[in-house]
């Protein structure tokens, strides 16, 4: 059976189409101000990519912060459920899933079947989410990919004391003025977000293996910093931003 999962995030809509557990297509579009319209376009794109027609998609499940705004979905599941299901499919050994998105971070403890045992999340504060990195990249006047690249070359940390993204932005500006190396500032920024997420995740049991997913998992500097803060190895699957949508597509087939 062919099914689709749609993950409506704060910043991007992700669509995954699966056929009997096999991924046929993936598509990502900015969420914009009309999530339903963006979801529809993202789905159409994925259908086209898969070389199938709309009628072939038997069931659609939505997830993510904007999951309730997708009227054409057959049902919706929470992003926590979708994360665990998707991560389990890709990495069956995973017992702890950490998802860092643009405006939210979650830690999920799951069993061998990908069922949720416990979870913790932060959706109140940008300091532990992707928005923090973007905000700091703006202050550094560089693009995020460049920020990641220079961060990985940094040898020492710049002192960033602020937790709040708004305060950290002013702090970064004054660090630049005092001629601190941008690479060290970038490194400190990544370290700060990883430290925030790690302390949030510590509210649940952290059993091996640990996986990092969500759009921010593409940031190698944060993945490195997460390993340091958690003291365990962290697995990052390919296309980590699509794991939740994959979980939703699998849930649609169940």
């Amino acid at each position: 059976m062919i099914t689709a999962g749609i993950d409506v995030g704060a910043q991007a809509v992700k669509v995954v189409i699966v056929s009997d557990g096999k991924v046929l297509a993936r598509n990502l579009l900015p969420t914009g101000f009309d999530p339903q319209e963006s979801a529809q376009k993202a789905l159409d794109g994925a259908i086209h990519q898969a070389g199938i027609s709309r009628g072939d998609v038997k069931r659609i499940v939505a997830t993510g912060a904007g999951r309730k705004s997708i009227a054409f979905a057959d049902r919706n599941i929470t992003e926590v459920t979708a994360d665990a299901k998707g991560a389990n499919k890709l990495m069956p050994s995973v017992r702890t899933v950490i998802d860092i998105g643009a405006e939210e971070a979650r830690g999920i403890s799951c069993d061998a079947e990908g069922k949720v045992i416990d979870f913790a999340k932060n959706d109140k504060c940008a300091a532990g989410a992707g928005a923090f990195v973007e905000s700091m990249a703006r202050a550094l006047e560089i693009k995020v990919p460049e920020m990641i690249e220079i961060s990985l070359k940094s040898t020492k940390d710049a002192p960033i004391n602020a937790t709040c993204a708004v305060f950290a932005e002013s702090e970064v500006v004054s660090l630049i003025h005092t001629k601190i190396d941008k690479a060290d500032i970038a490194h400190a920024v990544h370290d700060a977000i990883a430290s925030r997420v790690a302390s949030m995740v510590r509210r649940i049991p952290i059993d091996k293996d640990v996986a990092l997913i969500g759009g921010v998992a593409n940031n190698a500097a944060i993945a490195e910093a997460m390993k340091k803060h958690l003291g365990v190895d962290v697995l990052v699957p390919e296309n980590p931003q699509f794991v939740s949508a994959l979980g939703a597509a699998l849930a649609a087939a169940a």
Binding site: K124, C125, A126, A131, F132, C164, A165, F167, S174
Partner: protein, 289 residues
């Protein structure tokens, strides 16, 4: 040049009915906050002159500027001032100060002096922090709570919104009250998230005034939440820069359900500086004994 909507005009004031030459002692308090700095001079225990300036990139210069602007045109020379107490975020780095005292003690003391002995709860809404302070009839702190970790509910958060909406910071409060009916509050706590939420609201057809109303009421709600953790005893007073934002203040008072409130004269933003100057006077007189 781009307009900086967060900017407000720096100013100084002096008491026209007083002659400082007749005073026995002049003392000063300097409050170097994260966003604004105030210099206050007391002549025999009365407020003679003060300034309200924008904090620069370092505390020593900001403190100097605040005091210089306060005494400008009065004929007072820095050496005429017998004792200076520094307070605020930058208090440890004020070379001219004889002593540094925390802003919590200074705000309570300053509010007590300007608003009278009935004040029991002082809410200080600063540029980068938020404090709830309980004090006794002499303005002595009995309990306090502060948030300096998060920009929500602070002046800096309001600056971000003013910049986003391109509204001068001094007009935010009035504009937020100029709405046909009160819209639902912005739901995000985080200023960064509130910013994206505000952009979404504007796209969906909300006016700037409505967005400001929704943000001011969210800020008021957050502040009241902090205050309720220490309890709000009457009388109530607000200090700090946001005390001048009628949109936030009126919504806080509404949420507090008509609590007896004292307005601080001549200026609620100088409470920290006034308190510091009062401590300076005590310390100076004690040293003379």
């Amino acid at each position: 040049m781009t307009t900086e909507y967060f900017r407000w005009i720096e100013y100084a004031w002096k008491n026209p009915d007083m002659d400082w030459h007749k005073a026995e002692t002049l003392v000063a308090g300097i409050d170097v906050g994260s966003v604004s700095s105030q210099g206050v001079v007391l002549a025999d225990g009365q407020i003679y002159c003060y300034s309200n300036t924008r904090t620069g990139s370092n505390s020593p210069d900001s403190a100097k500027k605040a005091l210089t602007m306060a005494i400008e045109g009065t004929g007072i020379r820095p050496e005429d001032i017998k004792f200076i107490v520094g307070t605020g975020y930058g208090r440890v780095n004020i070379p001219s100060a004889n002593k540094a005292i925390t802003e919590i003690a200074c705000h309570a003391r300053g509010a007590n002096f300007m608003g009278g002995p009935t004040i029991r709860t002082v809410l200080d809404m600063g540029g980068q922090d938020l404090k709830g302070i309980h004090c006794d009839e002499r303005g002595k702190v009995t309990q306090f709570l502060m948030n300096d970790k998060c920009a929500a509910g602070t002046g800096r958060g309001m600056e971000v919104m003013a910049e986003l909406l391109q509204v001068p910071i001094t007009e935010v409060g009035q504009m937020s009250l100029d709405v046909a009916e009160e819209p639902p509050s912005v739901s995000s706590t985080c200023v960064i998230f509130a910013k994206s939420e505000a952009i979404g609201l504007l796209r969906s057809g909300w006016t700037k005034n409505m967005v400001l109303a929704a943000y001011c009421s969210a800020m008021a709600h957050r502040v009241v939440g902090l205050l309720e953790r220490i309890g709000v005893e009457k009388d109530f007073a607000i200090t700090g820069g946001i005390s001048k934002n009628i949109g936030v203040v009126s919504r806080i008072l509404k949420e507090l359900g008509g609590i007896p409130t004292v307005t601080l004269k001549p200026d609620a933003q100088i409470a920290g500086g006034v308190g510091a100057a009062l401590f300076a006077r005590d310390l100076y007189l004690k040293s003379k004994k």
